[in-house]
Amino acid sequence: MKREIPLVLTALIGAIMIVGFFVPHEWASVPADYLQQCAVIVVAFGYALGGANVFRVNLDAVFRKQRDWPYKIVLLVGMVVMLVFGLFVDRSRFQDPGTVSVWLYDHLYVPMNATMFALLAFYIASAAFRAFRIRSLEAGLLAAAALVVMVGRVPVGDVVVRAIVDHDGVPHAIRALRIGALQEWIMDVPQNAAKRAVLMGAAMGVMATGLRVILGIERAYLGGGD
């Protein structure tokens, strides 16, 4: 029963959602709408559960003095401070300007979050120098496309290309070259074709997996092996 009930529930809910999508009648749409509302509530509970889990796992790591445990203290302190101010000090006003929660969000969360993302620019430069190796024809094509898109996407691309090719003696066809237009063509044609193929393949895979789950063939989500 431990496995049968979840399997039946999954099949039933999956079938209701599929029927609700295609059949506009209220007998089909009302149960599907109700399940959607339930999903939002379950997701909200998921946040509480996730938060509690983060707290438990990191607290445990601090007590055991596992690797990088001082950073976990920072995480726990941050979590507790935000929770205390949000739940007990600012309460329902926690999103209003002038509250401690908003101050913490503006002056700690926003700059730290932006900083983490900004660091990517530095690491991408390092990775471009050390890791992007052209060892085959395919890698060469990838690098050529990447260079054209990277340079053609920004205003400096056409300025640089024009400075290189716009001289007497250079054939007109080359002088008329616009790297921005070439970049747009790469994005519109080869990139789009490949992306569409990936999307279609992924969509087919999702449909197949969904059907396998609904029909009870795919049981990995239940855990504990097949």
């Binding site: 939002v40 909200a44 530095f122 991408i124 430069a125 390092s126 471009a128 992306k195």
Partner: protein, 279 residues
């Protein structure tokens, strides 16, 4: 110095060069020419072609990490919409973004107020705030906007707000403007709302996710697409603004050029080292 000697180059030199190439143009802009691309023109014209006063849904699905790319396009879109007197209903599906989006809306609203335009929160626009649930929220909004968001960001009862007076579901909107940093974002709005409820939509997204949305643009599911800071700068140019995206493009241009040079130089260094070792 032989090229192969660069193989052991301390990466902090690269960091230093990137830092200089980003900071210097931000302080002393070069003013490189910005040429709007077709997807950006489509984005601007999709909003421009709305009838004056048409109600628009705007979902700002990002957090502060994407601020330099997405806040400028959010602001320009709000300015264009409010110039056309379009009431705007804003939602947020990213937990870390609600505060930032609220500030962004208020900054643009205050610009209009400073010019003497009367923009009233709750009458001309509303920020419904964050709601957990990703795609489930999108589908729920198809049943009813006010039932999905019983309160707005300022905890006002949405059924009492004039801007939502005759709003029922997606059929109450002329356009969806989605500003997206990833999941949940443009892809989910296309799949759950555009294809199901047939709400026309445009998207502004991060540069890294733009290639993923080009098929939707080509199929007509997206009426326009802004990709990253470059897209935001092009949109600013189309709207006659000299905003933060335009000012940031010089820095991004030089950084792109340097990264392209790093790829070429890195490969040249490896080849040189191989030739030196005789392999």
């Amino acid at each position: 110095m032989r090229l192969a000697a660069l193989e052991t180059l301390d990466r902090r030199w690269l960091f230093l060069v990137v830092g200089i190439l980003v900071f210097v143009p931000l302080l002393w802009p070069i003013g490189l020419p910005i040429v709007p691309s077709r997807p950006s023109e489509q984005f601007a014209s999709a909003i421009e072609s709305l009838p004056d006063g048409a109600r628009v849904l705007m979902s700002c699905d990002y957090d502060p990490a994407s601020r330099p790319e997405l806040v400028p396009m959010t602001k320009t879109a709000l300015r264009q919409l409010w110039r056309k007197h379009c009431p705007v209903v804003v939602t947020v599906l990213w937990p870390g973004g609600a505060g930032l989006v609220d500030q962004t809306i208020e900054e643009v609203a205050n610009e209009f107020r400073a010019r003497g335009v009367k923009l009233v929160d709750g009458t001309d626009y509303v920020n419904l705030g964050y709601k957990a649930g990703n795609e489930a929220v999108m589908v729920l909004m198809g049943q009813g906007i006010k039932s999905t968001f019983p309160e707005d960001q300022r905890r006002r009862d949405t059924s009492t707000l004039p801007v939502l007076h005759d709003v029922t579901n997606y059929s109450s909107f002329a356009l969806l403007v989605n500003i997206s940093a990833g999941y949940p974002g443009t892809k989910e709005w296309v799949q759950q709302v555009n294809s199901r409820f047939h709400l026309p939509m445009v998207s502004g997204c991060t540069a890294v996710s733009a290639p993923e949305y080009f098929p939707y643009l080509q199929s007509g599911q997206l009426r326009g697409l802004l990709g990253g800071m470059a897209g935001a700068a092009e949109y600013e140019k189309l709207e006659g603004e000299n905003g933060p995206a335009t000012r940031g493009m010089d820095a991004q241009s030089l950084a792109h050029l340097f990264i392209a040079a790093c790829i070429l130089l890195g490969n040249a260094v490896v080849r040189s080292a191989r030739r030196g070792s005789g392999s």
